[in-house]
């Protein structure tokens, strides 16, 4: 299962980022997110959505073996992560993010919270 | 059960307060307009901002057909319409 985004439906409310931070860290802080909404300055009113498509490249590249697939989604083990950020730099979606105050990259674990709340159904869970 | 000459009326936001329910099935007397359907469920037509029938916006003088789903969307209501 992975989160699929239809960016043309996104309104930029960032509720997904709030939901993600709550799930991953139990905090009110949309900056600690694994889904990233940015507005397109050259095309105002349009948004870019960066979210993991579970391609597995991070697992392939991780020199520490800190990434593994659990219940269909790749997850990072903070105990094993050496903060080399190869995965962050190489992620094709730009969806491995390092929140301020944290060291281990955070990524989408397909929990579905953002999908459930997205008011325009711009996000969906797909196989 | 909906009878053969009825519509389902859904009431958005504060209109539900006036009608006392969020959704109800209404028997149509003849072929009323949407404004008349609103009045039938106890909502003054001039409190309805928009009408939608089966998901499409319609004017107040549109006449719904049996089996249609009618949605009444309130005017910017600023809270309760009744009492204090």
């Amino acid at each position: 299962m992975r989160v699929d985004a239809t960016a043309s439906r996104c309104t930029g409310c960032k509720l997904c980022q709030l939901a993600c931070a709550l799930h991953q860290f139990g905090e009110n802080n949309p900056k600690k997110t694994a889904i990233l909404i940015t507005s397109d300055l050259l095309n105002t009113g349009h948004y870019r959505v960066a979210v993991c498509d579970q391609c597995g490249l991070c697992e392939e590249l991780c020199p520490a073996g800190a990434v593994s697939k659990v219940d269909g989604a790749y997850v990072v083990d903070p105990e094993e992560c050496t903060y080399c950020y190869i995965c962050v730099n190489e992620c094709p979606q730009g969806a491995m993010l390092v929140p301020s105050g944290k060291h281990t990259p955070v990524k989408c674990i397909s929990c579905g919270d953002c999908v459930e709340l997205c008011p325009t159904s711009a996000l969906a869970m797909v196989e | 059960m909906a009878s053969s000459n009825s519509v389902v009326v859904k009431l958005g936001g504060t209109l539900a307060e006036l009608a006392g329910t969020k959704q109800l099935c209404v028997e149509l007397p003849g072929e009323p307009t949407l404004a008349e359907v609103a009045a039938l469920v106890g909502v003054a037509p001039n409190l309805v901002m928009l009408y939608a029938v089966n998901g499409t916006l319609r004017a107040a003088d549109y006449r719904p057909s049996p089996g249609d789903e009618v949605l009444l969307i309130p005017a910017v209501a600023g809270g309760q319409l009744t009492g204090r």
Binding site: G45, P119 | L50, A77
Partner: protein, 614 residues
């Protein structure tokens, strides 16, 4: 402090010093945030100062709900002693500024003094700098915002002023998020007087809350309820534009300088016209499922604009008799770049159009320009002259009340304002509660304190009894959202029950305040802003609460309210009722007893010492 960042950022633009102060828990408990913080700060710190002088304060405040996981915790308040009215003035703006301010670690920013050159404030968490903005001065509000985002990054949230603010147009607004505005009461002019072109904020910090699990549970239920509402699609498709045709059908759509409440050209500017001809997408505020912001493109002009919102279509469309949505949207774009509040600008220009039609002014006054209803080019030319204070624009920039005072010839009776603030988008001769709401709004003729027109319809439009009580209720519950830092529309439009908000408050803040306690905060703030008016404006009282003569003596000519007017004895009955229920005296001043009941004993003492209350 749960729900709060815990600090207030102070900026002295005269000395270039910046510092922080902890948020006083007593201030939080008694005033919550947003408009409440702003009202208390301005009451305490702006005494007798000129609105456009260095001693005024400009307050940017969020509230405990801003930036938190709940529907539309997105509202920031800009407040100051108003350049438009000389009273307490505020305006709120959605977008992402209020949330970002909290993440940066501040509940509010308070500006004082005045810079000696154009500057902007840069905030990135603890890094606070007053930076040169010479290259931005003279640029449009949106142009300047885009330039700053290009330089700093898309993730900075930015507020800017346009030429209107720089040139001290008394109703200049503050722009944010490329097309949203803190529109009313001239906060943009106050920024301009301080030579503050922009505020740029970015933050990375978490907003602590008292009970994160309760917050998740309550908010999730609210979000899912909105998502399941069959009416949500209408907001996504049409936004607030859908109010236009309804307002017109009930005779409340301001038309030709409020001479009528019915506009024959409505079909050209209503939500259908907007959707079919100009809308390109939806643009939501932070954490808001409704996304009532529509982004539009006017192909024939090659411009993009957020909107037009209802108020803009009402004041620029109906009030200036523009009957093409493309013209309204283009005029909206022009005002946004210039940094003009579209409500006041549409009102002032509509007034000039009526004066031109009546021969009160002619081409000699206007510098050769024919100022006719329905002429978008005339509108745009006047808007530019106002923003630059050129020719006739220099007078119009002072507002409709001052303009009428200069032009005379009876034009005062159709200068549509209260307390010097131009009337917003509801013609109210057939709606006594709404009329009273405009008369008694603390910032002047604005609809956001109490929006009572559906109450008039539901209870009977002629009826006067009971209307004052409803207006007071609304004047407490609606501005409460502005104290909390959340948008009220999920309640107003989607019908989210107020009990959710009552449950959210302790979950977010941990403070044991009931909903009734919160409403009392709102009442406290309302009395404080009234007390401020009494202190700052000699002779302030009942005479400042009347609407223009047009509404009293001139019946509506056509539409659903044809024949309606609101006689003076009706107005007096409404005011007597209102003052009595509020615990104000016959002259409209809060009594010492009332102020003390609301915990404003210090205010009562100060006013008593000045002989302003018994």
């Amino acid at each position: 402090m749960n729900g709060y960042a815990g600090k207030i950022l102070r900026v002295d633009l005269s000395t270039g010093k910046t510092w922080t102060e902890p948020v006083d828990p007593k201030l939080a408990r008694e005033y919550l945030g947003g408009r409440g913080f702003a009202a208390r700060l301005i009451y305490d710190e702006v005494k007798g100062a000129e609105a456009l002088g260095p001693d005024n304060r400009l307050v940017l405040a969020s509230g405990p709900f801003a930036g938190v996981f709940l529907p539309a915790g997105a509202k920031a308040t800009f407040a100051a002693k108003s350049s438009a009215t000389g009273l307490y003035g505020d305006a709120n703006v959605g977008g992402h500024l209020a949330a970002e301010l909290k993440y940066a670690g501040y509940d509010a920013i308070v500006f004082q003094g005045s810079a000696d050159r154009p500057v902007y404030l840069f905030v990135d968490d603890e890094t606070v700098q007053i930076r040169d903005a010479s290259r931005l001065w003279g640029k449009g509000a949106i142009e300047a915002e885009v330039a700053l985002k290009d330089e700093l990054g898309e993730d900075y949230q930015i507020a800017t002023i346009g030429p209107a603010g720089e040139n001290l147009v008394k109703y200049a607004c503050v722009g944010h998020d490329i097309g949203r505005q803190a529109g009313r009461t001239g906060a943009g002019a106050v920024m301009g007087s301080k030579r503050l072109k922009a505020i740029a904020v970015r933050g990375s910090q978490t907003v602590p809350v008292a009970d994160i699990e309760a917050l998740r549970r309550i908010s999730k239920e609210m979000f899912l309820k909105v998502k399941a509402d069959p009416g949500l699609q209408v907001w996504h498709d049409y936004g607030l534009g859908s109010v236009c045709s309804w307002a017109n059908s009930i005779g409340a759509f301001p038309t030709r300088n409020f001479s009528s409440g019915y506009f024959e050209g409505i079909d050209g500017i209503d939500h259908h016209a907007m959707r079919e001809r100009i809308i390109v997408g939806s643009k939501a505020c932070f954490g808001c499922p409704m996304a009532c912001g529509k982004f539009s493109r006017v192909k024939e002009r090659g411009v993009w604009v957020e909107g037009p919102e209802y108020e803009t279509t009402a004041l620029i469309g109906g009030n200036c008799a523009l009957n093409r949505i493309e013209d309204v949207a283009y005029a909206n774009y022009v005002c946004d770049e210039l940094g003009l509040d579209t409500i006041s600008a549409g009102n002032v220009i509509g007034f000039a159009m009526e004066c031109f039609q009546r021969g009160v002014i002619d081409e000699r006054t206007t510098g050769g320009l024919a100022v006719r209803f329905g002429d978008v080019e005339a509108f745009v030319t006047l808007a530019n002259r106002i923003a630059r204070r050129e020719g006739i624009g220099d007078l119009l920039a002072d507002g409709v009340k001052q303009t009428a005072a200069v032009w005379g010839k009876g034009s005062e009776s159709y200068a549509i304002q209260v307390k010097g603030l131009e009337w917003s988008g509801y013609e109210s001769r057939g709606a006594p509660a709404m009329m009273l709401a405009y008369m008694t709004a603390d910032i002047g003729a604005h609809h956001n304190r109490a929006w009572a027109i559906t109450y008039d319809i539901a209870q009977g439009r002629e009826k006067v009894e009971g209307k004052a009580a409803k207006v007071i209720d609304l004047q407490h519950v609606r501005p409460l959202f502005d104290c909390l830092g959340a948008c009220r529309l999920p309640w107003v439009e989607m019908g989210l029950d107020l009990k959710y908000y009552a449950e959210l408050f302790p979950a977010v803040t941990g403070l044991d305040l009931s909903w009734e306690d919160l409403l009392q905060v709102s009442e406290r703030v309302y009395n404080l802003t009234r007390a401020y008016a009494v202190r700052e404006v000699p002779g302030f009282g009942r005479s400042h609460d009347y609407p223009p003569e047009r509404f009293i003596s001139e019946p509506v000519p056509d539409g659903a309210t044809a024949g309606s007017r609101i006689p003076r004895d009706t107005l007096d009955a409404l005011l007597d009722d209102y003052y009595g229920l509020r615990g104000w005296d016959k002259t409209g001043r809060p009594t010492g007893v009332t102020l003390r009941r609301l915990g404003l004993g210090d205010v009562a003492e100060e006013l008593a010492a000045r002989g302003l209350v018994e």
